[in-house]
């Protein structure tokens, strides 16, 4: 019989979220931290993000994904965190039992005192956005294409149509072009780009790649390999308009149609998920609905800035340490409501109002000259003016020790975006 491992903390996933959480927990005094990663290296998705734009908040400098990851990798090597690579967590029960596997030890049973979930997200596929047509080779998600080109050194196609203008799609339009492929165009269902403006300029405009807004792919042609796609403008219900259909020859359809937090393990552990974010409900310490299980990074909601991922990870790591070392009990939580022009807010609950809390939220639609603010039972606590807010750009607002500043028991918090700003 193998011995069950009983660390103080098990972190699942070693992307920036897992790395950040393990480091913070170790820094807060946990001596027995285990970091479990299924890939052969640390860093999560970052090693394949060889473009720049990472770290402007955390390190106040602009770096590539691998550079950003490397800072944490070097730091974690200086701690006593136990790193288990090539180890996949297969299951996690409600009793915090983790079953993992690797090729050296076989099945590894772990019963930690606390857990941080940092499994990241996965990409949405063609069938999840219901793209009709044949099922040939050559339909690939943008992240998979990025991996093929940047890590494996393999080119997944030559003549590319990209569907979806999220940041990964935009980055890949440039990447394909730099590698000698031809990008026929980027097609976006909505009437505004899904990615940030900087990427639209630097990845498309600078390379004269056309961006077709309010368009979709309405059919995939080719029995063996993609031969073409039919594209069409969409109507107000986002359905393709037949009379606008065009036939675009290509050999690859690259999809950048959204990310979904990877929460199969969370579900098995009985953690409740927010239907809007598709990630666990968390409180201000990133603790999920199961005591002792924390979550951070893209498994909670799709942060677009890695810096926010790191921030959420530090909160989760410290929260886990506090849980283990001080046996902290949760107070009755206060609900955080998404108010005017706010799609969702993380955290969804606040249990301890006597501390600073970071709120992350997204607007529902673009709006100019607004104030984003946080209310406690209708009373404004903190706010910030913005020239322009757009759904792809996540907003962050910090409040300070709420109950102290309001001096009374709060029943409900609201985050809203209202007209009137700069």
């Amino acid at each position: 019989m193998k011995k069950t491992r009983k660390p103080q903390l098990a972190v699942i996933g070693a992307g920036p979220a897992g790395l950040g959480a393990a480091l913070a927990a170790s820094g807060a005094g946990l001596r027995d931290v285990m970091l479990i990663e299924r890939d052969f290296e640390l860093g999560g998705i970052l090693p394949q993000c060889i473009h720049d734009g990472f770290g402007s908040i955390v390190f106040k400098e602009v770096m590539t994904g691998p550079e950003y990851a490397q800072r944490f990798v070097e730091e974690i090597r200086r701690t006593d965190v136990e790193i288990m690579l090539n180890t996949m967590v297969l299951d996690m029960g409600p009793d915090m039992r983790i079953t993992a596997v690797n090729d050296r030890e076989g099945i590894v049973e772990i019963e930690p005192e606390s857990i941080v979930l940092a499994m990241g997200c996965r990409e949405r596929t063609r069938h999840q956005v219901m793209l009709p047509g044949f099922r040939p080779a050559g339909v690939i998600t943008a992240g998979a294409a990025q991996r093929d080109i940047n890590i494996e050194g393999l080119m997944p196609g030559r003549k590319i149509v990209i569907l979806g203008s999220g940041d990964i799609g935009l980055i890949m339009a440039r990447r394909f072009t730099l590698e000698g492929a031809r990008v026929e165009g980027v097609y976006e269902l909505m009437d505004h780009p899904g990615g940030i403006t900087r990427n639209v300029v630097q990845c498309l405009r600078d390379f004269e790649i056309p961006l077709h807004l309010s368009h979709t792919v309405s059919f995939i042609h080719g029995r063996k390999r993609v031969e073409a796609v039919t594209v069409a403008e969409v109507d107000a219900d986002l359905k393709p308009r037949k009379e606008t259909e065009r036939f675009v020859p290509c050999d690859t359809l690259c999809l950048s149609v959204g990310l979904i937090p990877e929460n199969e393990l969370s579900k098995h552990a009985g953690i409740q998920l927010d239907p809007v974010t598709a990630g666990p409900f968390v409180d201000e310490r990133m603790e999920t609905t199961v005591d002792g299980i924390f979550a951070c990074g893209n498994v909670v909601n799709v942060f677009d800035l890695v810096d926010y991922v790191t921030h959420s990870a530090q909160v989760a790591g410290r929260g886990a340490a506090e849980y283990v070392l001080q046996g902290r009990k949760r107070q009755s939580p206060v609900k955080v409501v998404a108010g005017r022009n706010v799609k969702y807010v993380v955290p969804q609950f606040v249990s301890d109002l006597n501390r600073d809390v970071d709120f992350y939220f997204r607007v529902e639609h673009p709006e100019r000259a607004v104030t984003a603010r946080i209310l406690a039972d209708g009373k404004p606590l903190a706010g910030k003016k913005h020239k322009m807010v757009r759904p792809p750009e996540m907003l962050k607002q910090t409040t300070e020790a709420l109950d102290v500043s309001t001096g009374e028991k709060t029943r409900e918090l609201t985050v809203e975006v209202i007209p009137g700003g700069e």
């Binding site: 193998k2 299924r38 090539n86 996949m88 297969l90 079953t99 596997v101 690797n102 090729d103 050296r104 030890e105 076989g106 099945i107 049973e109 996965r122 990409e123 596929t125 063609r126 069938h127 999840q128 219901m130 009709p132 047509g133 044949f134 099922r135 040939p136 080779a137 690939i140 998600t141 992240g143 998979a144 991996r147 093929d148 080109i149 494996e152 050194g153 393999l154 080119m155 997944p156 196609g157 030559r158 003549k159 590698e179 000698g180 492929a181 031809r182 309405s218 059919f219 029995r223 063996k224 390999r225 393709p240 199969e264 579900k267």
Partner: protein
């Protein structure tokens, strides 16, 4: 293994490595090892057999008096024996036939007073189904009250009136079954030639002499035509045709197992009487696959292209609309895959099974549309009578090996069994497909199987890589690299499903087109 060159001769050539061809070949090897199976695709089960609903119907949906009905009922009864020793799963999960206010066509219902309509739905329809089953010799059906319908399947529409449970109905993975049948045949002496297309059947003086393929000729006194949607064209090559197959496409949807496991427990189908003919329209159903995914479908659309496995937006919508009524809360957003296959109906809408008068030694197994999978064991039984008459020995071989060992499936094992495997081969500890938890060792096994996987889809059908919610986004390049390594070829040679379906361009830098 697929031998390099075609043999000069064989006692029997089977054209088509679908479930029909492979089950006939396997049965033949019980009597003679000298069997050759030919298919033009890059894998066995690579046509209609890979894209159907996996149902082993009881026969309840088939019209009395047809060959389909007879072979379906018989086939179902034989299924446990048929799959024994093959190492494939077969589960009799039963079918719940639900009677709803839509069961009778509107024009019929409109002519009845409400109380009569209620009576007909509640009392008459279930008994009609029971009677129908009794006349066809289908055992075990029982009537189910409205309350029991909900107890059995809580997600069924609140408008349900009554139901009938059909317990012998089951499910089997059709491509796994067919791969197992082909491998079992090879273990017992048969040879399988893939990427090999039959272009002619050689007949002289009313006797079959063999076949002509793109890779040469094979002499054979007996040729079995199990060419699926192309069986009419192959029959014409022998002058043994005279029937036409009109392809009919069917699409189905698959949902994420994590979200739909136990959504339904048995298969569930709404009973609807068709307007004019009053025949039971099968109309498909909601089925839990053996792996636990919810499957909805299929549609039925006439097409003039025997390769048209596309799915239109309208078809997806049609399935959604149909099942919103029966299962109002099915998790639409959990859809992970859609696929379609081509049925092979003849004008008469029945199987055509039998020896040709024009070319002695040529046997048609044609028009094998649904329920071809369910009927397979009975089709075999029927065909063997003709094949023995044509000269296949009647004496069973004493050296027939009845067991085809199935490679281990990591995801289905206990932790103790997994540990044992990993101790012997560490590649069982390397999970490469995260959604379906497939290990490197399983891909290696697939690459070196009796019928080796040579394509990404071949690996997928054998191991389930890429069949989960991420649809291969995570494991695609890993599978390609492992398969290429095991085949000893560059990874840029990998295809999804045979010639033309390349996965990577050769060389990283390419020239702008």
């Amino acid at each position: 293994m697929t031998p390099a060159g075609l043999p000069e001769s064989a006692q029997v050539v089977v054209i088509g490595a679908g479930v029909s061809g492979c089950s006939i070949a396997r049965e033949l090897t019980k009597y003679t090892p000298d069997i050759v199976i030919i298919d033009r695709e890059s894998d066995v089960a690579d046509a209609t057999t890979k894209a159907n609903n996996a149902e082993v119907h009881s026969g309840i949906g088939e019209k009395i008096g047809t060959l389909k009905a007879k072979l379906n009922v018989r086939g179902n009864a034989l299924y446990d024996d048929f799959v024994s020793g093959l190492g494939v799963d077969f589960r009799r999960q039963g079918l719940l036939i639900v009677i709803t206010p839509r069961t009778l066509p509107e024009e019929v219902a409109a002519r009845m007073p409400r109380s009569v309509h209620d009576f007909v739905l509640k009392q008459v329809m279930p008994r009609l189904i029971m009677l129908n089953a009794r006349r066809k010799g289908i055992p075990g059906l029982r009537m189910v009250s409205r309350a029991e319908v909900y107890r059995m399947e809580p997600h069924v529409t609140r408008s349900a009136v009554a139901g009938v449970f059909d317990p012998t109905y089951g499910m089997v993975a059709p491509y796994k079954l067919t791969i197992a049948l082909a491998e079992h045949s090879v273990m017992n002496g048969a040879r399988v030639f893939l990427n090999t297309e039959v272009s002619g059947v050689n007949v002289k003086d009313g006797r079959v002499l063999g076949v002509t393929t793109n890779r040469g000729d094979i002499r054979a006194p007996i040729v079995v035509n199990a060419a699926g949607v192309f069986a009419d064209e192959v029959a014409d090559m022998a002058g043994a045709g005279g029937f036409r197959i009109h392809p009919r496409k069917g699409a189905s949807l698959l949902f994420d197992r994590e979200e739909t496991r136990e959504y339904v427990h048995s298969s569930v189908s709404e009973f609807r009487v068709r307007g004019k003919t009053k025949a039971h329209s099968k109309g498909g159903g909601a089925m839990p696959t053996l792996e636990g995914n919810l499957q909805l479908g299929p549609t039925a659309i006439e097409t003039d292209d025997k390769f048209d496995t596309s799915i239109s937006a309208e078809e997806i919508q049609e399935i959604f609309d149909r099942f919103y009524y029966l299962l109002p809360d099915f998790p639409r957003s959990a859809m992970i895959s859609a696929f379609s296959g081509i049925r092979a109906p003849t004008e008469e809408e029945d199987f055509i099974i039998g020896p040709s008068e024009a070319a002695r030694g040529f046997v048609n197994v044609a028009g094998i549309q649904s329920p071809g999978l369910a009927s397979a064991p009975a089709i075999v039984e029927m065909v063997m009578v003709f094949l023995h008459d044509l000269g296949v020995p009647r004496q069973p071989r004493s050296d027939f090996d009845p067991v085809r060992p199935a490679p281990p499936r990591f995801a289905e094992l206990s932790n103790e069994e997994r540990d044992r495997l990993i101790a012997g081969d560490p590649r069982y500890g390397h999970v490469i497909c995260r959604c379906e938890q497939v290990t490197e060792a399983e891909v290696v096994n697939a690459a070196h199987g009796i019928i080796p996987a040579t394509t990404m889809d071949g690996v997928k059908r054998r191991t389930r890589t890429g069949m989960g919610r991420c649809q291969g986004g995570f494991c695609g390049y890993r599978v390609a690299q492992i398969l290429a390594r095991e085949m000893g070829v560059p990874v840029t040679d990998m295809t999804k499903d045979g010639d033309g379906s390349w996965v990577f361009t050769t060389g990283k830098k390419t020239i702008a087109v």
